[in-house]
């Protein structure tokens, strides 16, 4: 059944349906309209940056897509399937992944265990009471991801002992577990050193082509290097969309961005 999902995913990746489709997604918290009629379409493998000031609704948008919140109105489709009311785990099992702005990790477990859990979560037999064998696929791919994220040295350390940068790298590694098709990256570069930023950009640029992502990023430098398309949000609405160059030179966008930086 699982392989069926993957096969149909690859078929649609060949051109049948969009990776992600948002239609009129609205989220209201009491009187606050956090998202206002947001529509957005991502092709399979598309890499997009979402920009916008604080409170523009970027993280709320991610929370609606992952299912942490149910939208007040609107429809969300993942590879053609209506996932609007699915619980988070069902969306993750369909190839959606996300990282969090503030690292949400398992502080009492080791780095390898964190990644192992991420690999295990999208496989069957999640309730198994048998310890993993040395050659269990999930364990092997967890070891690979440890290397990908350059965390070999701290592999068996508790996450609570990691540096901030290492925790951010771990976030990314966990989002790449299993067979991801669409990543939601919430400010992955925040608080990283220039070297760590460079490493992050390389990881993103080297992802297999079929993996698309949406990245929320304040650092224009990073955002424009890893995204082929940019969505600008403001006050819960999509304010402008275009390719990076267009938006960089757009007077309105500049005004909004510089205004934010100054203010």
């Amino acid at each position: 059944m699982r392989s069926g999902v993957q096969v149909s995913g690859r078929l649609s990746a060949a051109g049948a349906s969009n990776a992600l489709e948002l239609r009129g997604v609205t989220k209201r918290f009491g009187a606050l309209l956090a998202l206002n009629d947001v529509s957005m379409t991502l092709r399979p493998g598309e890499r997009r940056a979402v920009l916008g000031s604080n409170g523009a609704g970027k993280t709320t948008l991610f929370n609606c897509i992952t299912g942490d919140f149910l939208p007040t109105a609107g429809e969300i489709r993942l590879y053609g399937e209506d996932i609007t009311v699915f619980p988070p785990q069902e969306r993750i099992r369909r190839g959606l992944r996300r990282t969090y702005q503030i690292s949400l990790l398992f502080a009492g477990l080791s780095v390898l265990d964190n990644i192992y859990l991420a690999c295990r979560g999208v496989l069957r037999r999640r309730f198994s009471m048998l310890r993993p064998g040395r050659n269990e696929p999930a364990l092997l791919s967890a070891v690979d991801l440890v290397e990908l994220a350059h965390l070999q040295e701290v592999r068996d350390s508790l996450v609570s002992h990691l540096s901030y940068g290492q925790q951010r790298q771990l976030e990314i590694a966990m989002a790449l577990a299993g067979a991801p098709r669409l990543l939601l990256l919430d400010e992955p570069a925040a608080g990283l050193s220039p070297n760590e930023r460079q490493a992050l950009v390389e990881i993103l640029q080297n992802l297999p082509e079929h993996i698309g992502y949406i990245i929320i990023e304040h650092d224009m430098d990073v955002a424009l290097r890893v995204a082929e398309f940019v969505t600008m949000m403001h006050n819960g609405r999509v304010f402008k969309e275009g390719n990076p160059r267009e938006l960089e030179n757009d007077a309105e966008v500049q005004a909004l961005y510089l205004g934010e930086v100054d203010g």
Partner: protein, 351 residues
């Protein structure tokens, strides 16, 4: 797909037995030969009872230490299993007891305890922290009052006496030596089972849920289902503890799973430490020692013997004050002191 294997996920623990310190082997051997020199009282009352209470507290440690769920209903699960053995099996209350053979009434006790724990879990996992404690405490007191007032099934206030273990293999299992080994076997079994499961996908998922439930569902796990499954699993050590407890005293009554014993299990688990499955057994041993000998100490000091709870309470206070991780935490702290490098003042090796 997953094979039955004994390897672990971390490289420093590649061999299952190679890294077990000699002291642990010695301790195991000590427990095995204890009946050759210990008195019946020590075997039956001190160690037998410690193993039983340890098992019941272990089921709380599994839920609380790995899953972050403080269930006060574990003693109730144990009590229910004890009641089922008395009702389905043989007791002095011949009007109620069904006289079914052990191979029916023991599985029935485990099954009913597991179903009950699953239902309690299903109710409790929708809540967090203090509310979980309140719901499970409510279940525990409801069970206490129900058994006390129901005479048709639970024989009300007096409960059941004359509940003896079956004479399996021609052994009188209430004989101190036999009972010592019986309770030691099950305590060791559940200790190792919990240790083993803690590194399985189920156990790791539970620890992930303890640290961060929201992230767990964002990794594809069904958080609610895992929590409920943890309650089901934890029912088994508690139920076996409850059956042994019933056989040990040959009786079960509402007071066995009253609010006092329910709190005692929490105290035992916290005194011992919730970080590792050995904690509940350490806590149970300390509790049993205090409960057995504090009367003598108090009387020697000219105080009323019935004030032993005072000593337990003070001990609890001191331990929780000095070490939130219980006696295990104190032990780890002491060991760390000796590992500190005298020059740089840092730990030489992490635990």
């Amino acid at each position: 797909m997953a094979q039955v294997v004994t390897t672990e996920t971390t490289p420093q623990s590649r061999s299952m037995f190679g890294r077990i310190p000699a002291a642990y082997w010695l301790f195991g051997a000590f427990l095995l030969v204890l009946p050759s020199f210990a008195s019946n009282f020590v075997m039956y009352q001190i160690f037998g009872w410690s193993f039983i209470l340890g098992m019941i507290a272990l089921s709380l440690m599994f839920l609380a230490g790995y899953g972050g769920m403080f269930s006060l209903a574990q003693m109730t699960v144990a009590g229910l299993a004890g009641y089922v053995v008395a009702i389905c099996g043989t007791s002095a209350i011949t009007d109620i007891s069904q006289n079914w053979p052990w191979y029916v009434n023991i599985p029935a006790a485990l099954l009913i305890a597991a179903i009950f724990a699953t239902v309690v879990g299903w109710l409790a996992v929708r809540t967090e922290g203090i509310y979980t404690i309140m719901i499970t405490l409510a279940v525990a007191s409801a069970f206490f009052y129900f058994t006390r007032q129901n005479y048709v099934l639970f024989n009300g206030f007096s409960g059941f006496n004359g509940v003896f273990p079956p004479q399996l293999f021609g052994v009188d299992w209430r004989h101190p030596v036999a009972f010592y080994y019986l309770s030691l076997f099950w305590a060791a079994f559940w200790y190792f089972a919990v240790l083993y499961v803690s590194r399985s996908p189920m156990g790791l998922a539970l620890q992930g849920i303890r640290d961060n439930p929201r992230r767990m569902s964002a990794l594809g796990f069904d958080v609610t289902a895992h929590r409920v499954a943890a309650y089901t699993f934890a029912a088994f050590p508690a139920a076996i503890g409850g059956i042994l407890l019933t056989w040990q005293s040959a009786q079960i009554s509402p007071g066995t799973a009253g609010v006092g014993p329910v709190i005692d299990i929490l105290v035992i688990a916290v005194i011992g430490g919730l970080r590792h499955p050995v904690g509940p057994f350490v806590g149970a041993f300390v509790y049993v020692i205090l409960k057995s000998f504090s009367i003598d100490i108090l009387v020697a000091l000219g105080l009323g013997g019935e004030r032993f709870q005072l000593l337990i309470g003070l001990g609890f206070l001191v331990i929780v004050f000095w070490s939130p991780d219980g006696l295990l935490g104190l032990w780890a702290k002491l060991r760390d002191l000796h590992r500190r490098d005298p020059l740089i003042g840092r730990l030489v090796r992490r635990l």
